[in-house]
């Protein structure tokens, strides 16, 4: 069933009639990232205005795969469970070469996590849920048909000019979040370089509606018989919608290829029948680029405006939500006077690092799928050839390495006999606890997690004490008998100790708030 787009109402902004007081935060762009940022800030009690030049959710689905980490972040802002309920849960991917399956992966082989490894859910559904949540929040004001056309920064504020159907007005913000997407007009207005590479390849992306019983798995083909030696992807979404990606080559003429008369026969060959409807199609060229800095005084770039990756690996929207995760608590603390602006420099450091990891993974996958002529092509083809009979070559086959949260390179107290998956810089791993899930109890504040021993006396930070259950021991203790973790408001592990060192814990927390770590 195709999505029923309902335009959101345009309301005359007060600024058209008289100057508005300076706002703590103005967000430009009501895509998934701008909306999530507004809700994340609302969790900390920070008000924001969200401006969007349009008045409907994403036209066409674009993002479909949402990672476990994204679902955990969305859970904090109140829509995680609804997304899982509506989405198609999956964790298995199968990669084929010609007619043979050569490689499969299971993204979440263990139980004991609230959120699945991945769900597929159309971007418009996610945005619709976010918009509805924003409407209900006393901290968020959405303004549709409000297009930012100019920006100026002076000292401690950013001033923007906004065009509406009734004329223009201006707003002043202590902080402006540029969540205005891959083509970011703000990036252009500020004349910032957006460096990286463009891949000389075109893909046809088609969402089709059909009744069918394809499994909830990601199927990828290299050189399938049905698509003349190029690669192809099939992935299930809710509402009987399926995503199909077909590699077309650089020579393909985008205009000709957009014609349903050409698209339909191509898809018939993939699914073997013609009993389907086209829902949305698009011809894409992939790029991997980022801004060299995400923080420019009072303007902070978040999401696609800061970095774009090719879609194989689902690192665009998922990477952007991790930006929101890293920014929300810091910006809230700065705006509320609990910390000073240098703290935002850590957002810049961590998320440029995260973006580089995403860019590296996406460009590697893209180069494998679309090798340039010569050596790149020889190695790609021979890896596929070897994969048919040599196990080691199978995991080398790269159809996209799917989004996982990066591990920030923190220098912090650590215990080597504890599991590496929960080392400082990693995101806390979920586990069932007495009355629910661990991740629902972490986040929003700097917290001390005490496992298998008594809570330290004299600590001023909030403390959560846990019994060392099987999952908690495996994920947090390893060979240690007990442990103390310092967990940041974004659920990132800041440091860990085996024994209680109240002063060390406190000093570590202070260093984080001061932006020294």
């Amino acid at each position: 069933m195709a999505f029923d787009y309902k335009p959101f109402e345009y309301v005359s902004p007060p600024g058209l009639y008289s100057a508005e007081p300076r706002h703590p935060v103005v967000i430009v762009g009501a895509g998934p990232i701008g909306l999530a940022a507004a809700l994340e800030l609302a969790n900390y009690g920070v008000s924001s205005i969200v401006l969007d030049d349009n008045n409907v959710v994403s036209v066409g689905s674009r993002a479909i795969c949402w990672s476990k980490r994204s679902l955990e972040i969305l859970d904090r802002i109140g829509i995680g469970e609804a997304c899982v309920a509506k989405g198609v849960t999956w964790k298995v991917g199968r990669t084929h070469h010609r007619a043979q399956e050569i490689f499969s992966f299971d993204l979440l082989p263990e139980a004991g996590h609230k959120m699945p490894a991945f769900i597929n859910l159309q971007q418009y559904h996610v945005e619709q849920m976010l918009v509805e949540k924003c409407f209900k929040s006393p901290f968020v004001e959405l303004r549709f048909k409000n297009k930012v056309i100019a920006i100026e920064q002076c000292g401690t504020e950013a001033i923007i000019t906004i065009e509406t159907p009734e004329g223009t007005y201006s707003l002043s913000a202590e902080y402006l979040l540029a969540c205005d997407g891959a083509r970011s007009p703000l990036r252009a207005m500020m004349a910032l370089d957006f460096e990286g590479e463009l891949f000389e390849e075109r893909f046809l992306i088609a969402d089709i509606e059909m009744e069918g019983e394809f499994p909830s798995e990601r199927w990828f083909w290299f050189e399938p018989d049905f698509h003349n030696g190029q690669s192809a992807l099939l992935h299930k979404q809710p509402d009987n919608i399926y995503r199909i990606d077909l590699q077309l080559g650089w020579d393909a003429d985008p205009e000709k290829e957009s014609d349903p008369k050409r698209i339909i026969p191509r898809i018939e060959k993939v699914i073997g029948h013609s009993d389907f409807k086209l829902d949305w199609t698009s011809i894409y060229t992939f790029q991997c680029r980022r801004l060299s800095r995400f923080v420019h005084d009072r303007v902070i770039f978040v999401g696609d405006s800061a970095h774009i990756v090719s879609p194989f690996g689902a690192r665009g929207g998922n990477g952007g939500l991790q930006d929101v995760d890293a920014l929300g608590w810091r910006l809230a603390a700065v705006v509320q006077g609990r910390a000073s602006p240098p703290l935002l420099e850590q957002y810049n450091a961590e998320r440029t690092f995260g973006a580089d990891e995403n860019l590296l993974n996406s460009s590697r996958a893209t180069r494998f799928m679309s090798p340039s002529a010569g050596a790149e092509r020889w190695f790609r083809d021979e890896t596929l050839a070897l994969a048919a009979h040599a196990d080691f070559a199978r995991p080398m086959v790269n159809s996209g390495r799917l989004s996982v949260p990066c591990i920030y390179p923190l220098t912090a107290p650590d215990v080597s006999i504890m599991p590496t998956q929960t080392r400082p810089g990693a995101t806390a791993i979920d586990a069932p606890i007495e009355d629910g899930w661990l991740l629902n109890r972490l986040g929003g504040q700097m917290l001390v997690l005490v496992i298998g021993c008594k809570a330290p006396e004299g600590i001023t930070l909030p403390v959560l004490t846990l019994e060392p259950t099987t999952e908690i021991s495996a994920r947090y203790l390893g060979d240690a008998a007990h442990g103390i973790y310092l967990v940041r408001p974004d659920q990132v592990i800041a440091a860990r100790w085996q024994d209680i060192e109240v002063q060390a814990i406190q000093e570590q927390a202070n260093a984080i708030w001061e932006g020294r770590l």
Partner: protein
């Protein structure tokens, strides 16, 4: 670990001959493909990324 630069195969002449023999009668395209497979197989056998990178560096020097 560092890349071995000294002799490491007992019978190098036989190893060299095996390489040449494998390419006997192959077209250039097939030879290139064979070498690509061979490099992939040997990289996996070495297993140590650092050694592989040192080997690549050495090979690049001879260019």
């Amino acid at each position: 670990m560092t890349l071995k630069l000294s002799k490491n195969i007992d019978d190098q002449d036989a190893a060299y001959a095996a390489l040449i023999d494998a390419h006997q009668g192959l077209s250039e395209a097939h030879s290139i493909a064979l070498n690509a497979r061979l490099v992939l197989i040997l990289c996996n056998q070495i297993g140590d990324l650092d050694i592989i990178k040192q080997a690549i560096q050495l090979a690049c020097k001879e260019n």
